[in-house]
Amino acid sequence: MKMKKTILEVVNLKKYYHQGRGPFSLGRGRQRTIPAVDDVSFYLKENETLGLVGESGSGKTTVGKTILRLIPATSGEIFFDGKEILSLSAGEFHPLRKDMQMVFQDLDAGLNPKMRVQAILKEAVRVHHQMSSPEVDDRIRTLLEQVNLKESKLGNFPHELSGGEKRRVGIARALAVGARFLVADEPTSGLDVSIQAQVVNLLKDLQDRLGLSYLFISHDLRMVELVSHKVAVMYLGRIVELGLAGHIAHAPRHPYTRSLWSSLVTKESREVSAPTSPGSSGDWGVFDFERSFSGCRFAPRCPVYQEQARPDICTDPVSEPQLYDVGRAHKVACHFPLS
């Protein structure tokens, strides 16, 4: 098999938010630093999909937006097609936008409520390409055919479209510029089950036909497993496990990954309607950034930490677990990886 080219590589990406005091606020409120993305590294091969999973607040969307430079990164490097993009000026980066696009979680994103579908697509086609009117019409027709949308929808305003149709227009808009790499941010959330399947099938179909690469961000573990070649699991801004989709789903090494997947009920276990084993889903509540943590950030919810009688290394501030290779292209950040 021919070695595939690496299309995207993210190295030590960090994004810190400073939640500070307003210019006129009084009192002693101290400025807090929130690590939305904390030292994240991964790469993506051409025509492949990397799934990025995690709960809300894990920073997965921030990673996607930082790659597209919609949010400035705090530090780190991002290579697209071997070219570092974070150091480029806005003008230098602009032409790259035709190669990398985003499918936003919000179905209405990018759809100007006062413009018809035709005008929306026409604008997208023309942003990076000089084309004559008939060429644009041709291109729009091709796009509609690619995303399987009826031509009669061209005359509609966004609010007249159903959720599935809006999603298709959103994808068509991203393809209109000729993107090769898509950040798909929760592309199925907010859609009905039957429509979710359509969208996932469409994305896979487009990948086969056009050779696209995806960064597939989702909290729907099944969908991620279905579409991704590799999966990265994020917890509070950090990748805690990274590996082939099948390994992550069926042989997780990080306790968090296991609790994520065990929260899913497979069809088989639906038959025995027994509650999942206690402790497997971790502790209650969502982590708040306000609480300072030391060492492993999953420790407060970690069942292994409890089982191991709270070993000191897990909460030792200087030894936050780093990703390390456990073989078979599988990496995990845990002091006590599961076997």
Binding site: R97, Q101, F104, D108, A109, G110, N112, K114, R173
Partner: protein, 300 residues
């Protein structure tokens, strides 16, 4: 039966929503509003044109001392004459001159500055937003009438000075609305998506934000602004600070006519008062109707 609500035959035909125009979807009442409003606006514009061409039934300044306070219909004076024997109809038509250009100026100031600051605050955010909002609050917290009287005291009672103040004090209003629109689009990830697509900032601001999403707001602001201008001039005239005699304005006509109300010469002040009433009503209904049609309040 009373209290029953009738629901029309439910249509089962597949209708393509795009084939229905915006106007058909609007409720009949909105069309009525807009129709009346447009009628008033065209009367105002017509009056302005007639006034500037001096195409009037009588000379508005010509005093006929033999016909003081003649009731309507006497000697060719359709609406009667005032306390100096001047034709009321002609003065009404010319009176619009006092508002028209100064009013447009006030509206232009409010919309231009409001848009600039609104875009600055909404689009840039951060410190600029804070600064602009503080400035807006500062302007808002000044009682407008006091500000106007201060300017009149410092300079002179000129309608242009007044209207500049009116325009400036309306800036925060427009600003916050433009900013609201931008925030709405931001919330829907619209601006982020446009940037991701590779659109230039000026395209996003001028085409998407201002042209597509703020134009209805501007139209509505303009209609309501005109009504406000007339009202403010009226109140100032009543205090004696508005347009000064002998130049007619509806405000000073009401004010001077009011002295003769007790003598039973009601048409002196009632006619311009009614003109004010119906004109303001017209502008307001136009603004309201346009708002409902353009922003789709009723159609959802």
């Amino acid at each position: 039966m009373t209290g029953m609500k009738q629901y029309a035959q439910a249509s089962l035909m597949v209708t393509d929503p795009s084939s229905r125009s915006m106007w058909k979807q609007a409720a009949a009442i909105d069309l009525l509003y807009v129709g009346y409003g447009l009628f008033i606006v065209s009367l105002v514009v017509l009056s302005y044109i007639l006034g500037s061409l001096n195409f009037l039934p009588h000379n508005p300044q010509e005093m006929d001392l033999s016909l003081l306070m003649a009731p309507p219909g006497v000697a060719g004076h359709l609406l009667g004459t005032d306390f100096m024997g001047r034709d009321i109809l002609s003065r009404l038509i010319v009176g619009i001159q006092a508002y028209f250009v100064p009013g447009l100026l006030a509206i232009a100031i409010a919309i231009t500055l409001g848009t600039v600051f609104g875009v600055l605050a909404g689009y840039r955010g951060g410190g600029v937003e804070t600064a602009v909002l503080y400035l807006g609050n500062l302007v808002d917290s000044f009682p407008r009438l006091v500000l106007i009287l201060l300017v009149i005291a410092a300079f002179k009672p000129d309608i242009y000075y007044i209207m500049i103040i009116v325009g400036l004090t309306n800036v925060p209003n427009v600003l916050s609305q433009v900013k609201g629109k931008i925030n709405f689009l931001k919330q829907k990830n619209f601006i982020e998506a446009a940037v991701a697509l590779g659109l230039k900032n000026r395209v996003i601001i001028f085409k998407h934000i201002l042209w597509y999403n703020c134009r209805s707001l501007f139209i509505i602001q303009a209609t309501l602004g005109m009504a406000e201008v007339i009202l403010i001039e009226t109140s100032l005239s009543y205090l004696g600070f508005g347009v000064q005699e002998p130049i007619p304005s509806w405000g000073n006509m009401v004010q001077s006519g009011a002295n003769y109300l007790l003598q039973g010469k009601f048409w002196l002040s009632t006619t311009p008062a009614l003109a004010i009433l119906f004109t303001i009503l017209g502008f307001h209904l136009l603004g309201d109707g346009l708002n409902n049609i353009l922003e789709g309040r009723r159609s959802t």
